[in-house]
């Protein structure tokens, strides 16, 4: 397993670049720790696949270097990088048995038959396919085939990194749970360096130690799920993480309060004068509907999503989403909202601004 260094890395698909806009992946410098699980999260076109392809060697960057431990692999081929990959669709040899599919990468590298037999058995147990080892892959369900792909990705112990490109997209929700949990346990057990590309926030957050959120070719935040939830560094992170995402309102901030349309919002921090586009962000989970105090809202819809309710309201033309518990009853008199002061974040030109704590 290896530490991965992204040094001054950037990529453009154009032969000539004149501005930063021409880069599909804008300059980045990061060191990803050995044995950690990272998820690259963003919507399509954000640059996450470009970055993955640079790490796997399918693409050579137009600028910068990539290092595995301290070895420069920028120009090395995929085969020379000693990595394992799992793709969105299962890649399985239909005519081979499950056993031979799993053994394939080991045989290719000339492992001893005794080791292969033992290792394949171990992997089969992990993916829950011991009983099917001698079946041919042909005729298995898509789920089962993707399990084989995952198993084959993990069969070699000496790889530098394991790369997953949306591996659970074709899997049914219930099976997703099972596979994701298995991946998670495997990571705990073996400590592989894992990089997992997805557009699904639940997958990214539950899988990774660190989530790398990408937007418009740029890494906007690398953080633990908790950091992304509590302190989104950019309004995009606030919007993208969480369902519904963070509420964002135009504001003017003075000291420890923010003035928005309809009233004043107390803040948990104090700020000096702010210049530029100033906004406050508050997650729907920290907004409470009340009958008496707070900002006046008009409720447009109440959605029952089972374990909680989503209330969609309007505050002087701005949309406010509120998450309330399954047992909460909502009366017509509840037409005001209160924000938890220590959960309100302040943004200047879309980037988080930290203030001073108030006692």
């Amino acid at each position: 397993m290896a530490k991965i260094t992204l040094d001054n890395l950037a990529h453009s698909y154009l032969p000539k670049t004149t501005s930063e806009d021409d880069f599909a992946l804008k300059e980045l410098n990061h060191v990803w720790a050995d044995g950690e699980a990272y998820a690259l999260l963003g919507s399509s076109g954000c640059g996450k696949s470009t970055l993955l392809n640079i790490i796997s060697g399918l693409l050579h960057p137009s600028q910068g270097r990539i290092l595995f431990d301290d070895v420069d692999v920028t120009q090395a081929s995929t085969a020379d990088r000693n990595i394992a990959q799992v793709f969105q669709f299962p890649v399985v040899y239909d005519t081979m048995t499950v056993r031979n599919n799993l053994a394939f990468p080991l045989k290719n590298r000339g492992a001893s038959p005794a080791y292969i037999a033992q290792r394949v058995q171990q992997i089969a147990a992990m993916i829950g396919m011991e009983a099917e080892l001698d079946h041919r892959a042909r005729g298995l369900t898509a789920d089962a085939k993707q399990k084989i792909s995952l198993g084959r990705g993990m069969v070699r112990e000496d790889v530098n990194a394991l790369l997953f490109d949306e591996p659970l997209t074709v899997i049914d929700p219930h099976m997703k749970w099972e596979l994701r949990t298995q991946l998670k346990s495997l990571h705990h057990e073996f400590g592989h360096t894992m990089i997992y590309v997805t557009h699904d926030q639940t997958e990214a957050l539950t899988f990774a130690d660190k989530v790398v959120v990408m937007y418009d070719g740029r890494v906007v935040q690398i953080g633990t799920p908790e950091e992304l939830f509590n302190k989104p560094q950019h309004t995009f992170v606030g919007y993208f993480i969480g369902s519904p995402g963070m509420n964002v309102l135009s504001a003017s901030v003075a000291g420890s309060s923010a003035a928005v349309q309809g009233g004043t919002v107390p803040l948990g921090q104090s700020f000096a004068e702010l210049e530029g586009k100033v906004e406050i962000g508050i997650r729907p989970e920290f907004v409470t509907l009340t009958e008496g105090e707070g900002l006046p809202v008009t409720i447009r819809r109440v959605e029952d999503v089972g374990r909680h309710k989503i209330i969609r309201a309007d505050l002087f033309g701005a949309e406010i989403n509120i998450v309330a518990g399954e047992d909460t009853s909502i009366s017509p008199d509840m037409n005001r909202v209160v924000f938890a002061p220590d959960r309100v974040n302040v943004y200047v030109n879309d980037w988080l601004k930290e203030g001073k704590g108030v006692l």
Binding site: T181, L205, E226, R307, E326
Partner: protein, 362 residues
């Protein structure tokens, strides 16, 4: 306007795709077909549309028997998982195409196209070709074309499955709004319980070619008729364990016994299966008292605001979803709590005999 299926079934090469199904769908309703892949959602839609002819049973449209009538002769629109548009036509012409086929006037067409484009937020893109649009816009174009047809029956087969997570979230909110205005019968197939809940309306839970329950969506969710429906309509899946009832007490698998309350109190003595949803498992006892369970923690997953705990309860695999971020030690013993009001009781065959008392109140 109603669509009625009476004893409709479909068998292909000896394999039952749809068992005898009765279903009545009313005008102006959203009807979700919820079930895993291969549960029969698409097969049932094809029978509704007239793309397939049932082996037995009849299909009625507004009381008229239309079994065997060709799809072209029915007023049906369909949207699939893959975005299907005419690549050489502009978005405007794509949306207008069904109306042109119907021989509408230019003014009628323009009115309908503008209205649908406005609803689908496609107005600025009307002059573009579909391939110049994002995936979400392409699928909105396909949805707009289905809407302008003014079809009595609109069938949507996992229309958001190929879209990015956030786009899906936005369209899920928009779709019910759009359909409320349109007045047709909408049928929407999905594998995801959360999508069914967000769409609202009615839900038909499907399992192995069978509609296990059809009712208002929140009712199917909170009062599933059997363990299969509960499993289909729960993500992560509902947890189950063996229980027995004797006298006024209910005893859980590991020997813990509590006084039976609510609908459980009325059950005859005997052995049952208890079911509960992951979000009702707690790490501390509720004020009104909870049933404790000793489990072993297998894996945790953090979502930022919540923690999924995967547990081993005497060999049974359970999932819990608890509030807050908890850094718990893997492999360690973990005591979890469950309120009796959140427990469903099924017979050993899986039929619901006592709904969770909270669900009746909700």
């Amino acid at each position: 306007m109603t669509l009625e299926l009476k004893g409709v079934s479909k068998v292909v090469e000896g394999e039952v795709h749809i068992s005898a199904t009765d279903l009545v769908l009313e005008k102006g309703t959203m009807n979700v077909l919820l079930g895993p892949t291969l549960s029969g959602k698409t097969s049932l839609m094809r029978l509704m549309a007239g793309l397939d002819v049932p082996n037995a049973g009849r299909v009625f449209w507004e009381g008229r028997d239309v079994t065997g009538m060709r799809v072209q002769d029915r007023k049906v629109a369909m949207v699939y998982q893959q975005f299907i548009n005419y690549p050489s036509m502009t978005v405007y012409d794509n949306i207008a195409s069904p109306l042109r086929l119907m021989g509408k006037t230019a003014a009628e067409i323009d009115h309908a196209v503008q209205k649908a484009a406005d609803l689908m937020q496609l107005t600025p893109m009307l002059k573009r070709k579909p391939l110049e649009l994002s995936g979400g816009q392409q699928q909105r174009c396909a949805l707009a074309r289905a809407l302008v047809k003014d079809a009595g029956l609109v069938l949507l087969d996992e229309p958001l499955a190929n879209l990015d997570y956030k786009l899906r979230e936005e369209l899920r909110v928009e779709i019910p709004k759009i359909f409320e205005e349109a007045g047709s019968i909408f049928v929407y197939a999905t594998t995801e319980p959360e999508e069914a809940l967000l769409l609202g309306g009615n839900t038909a839970a499907m399992w192995e070619g069978r509609v296990t329950q059809f009712d208002l969506t929140p009712k199917v969710y909170r009062q599933p008729i059997d363990a299969t429906t509960a499993r289909v309509f729960s993500d992560p899946p509902m947890n189950f364990l063996k229980v027995s009832k004797a006298g006024g007490n209910i005893t859980f698998g590991d020997g813990h016994s509590v006084a039976a309350t609510g609908p459980i109190a009325d059950l005859a003595d005997g052995r049952y299966i208890a079911g509960f949803r992951p979000n009702h498992l707690e790490l501390s006892s509720a004020a009104g008292g909870s049933v404790p369970f000793d489990t072993r923690l297998v894996v945790t997953e953090l979502t930022g605001s919540e923690t999924f705990v995967h547990l081993d309860h005497h060999g049974e695999k359970w999932v819990g979803l608890v509030h807050g971020v908890h850094n718990l030690k893997l492999g360690s013993a973990l005591r979890v709590y469950l309120e009796l009001r959140h427990v469903y009781i099924f017979t050993e065959a899986g039929d619901l005999v006592a709904p969770a008392s909270y669900a009746i109140a909700a």
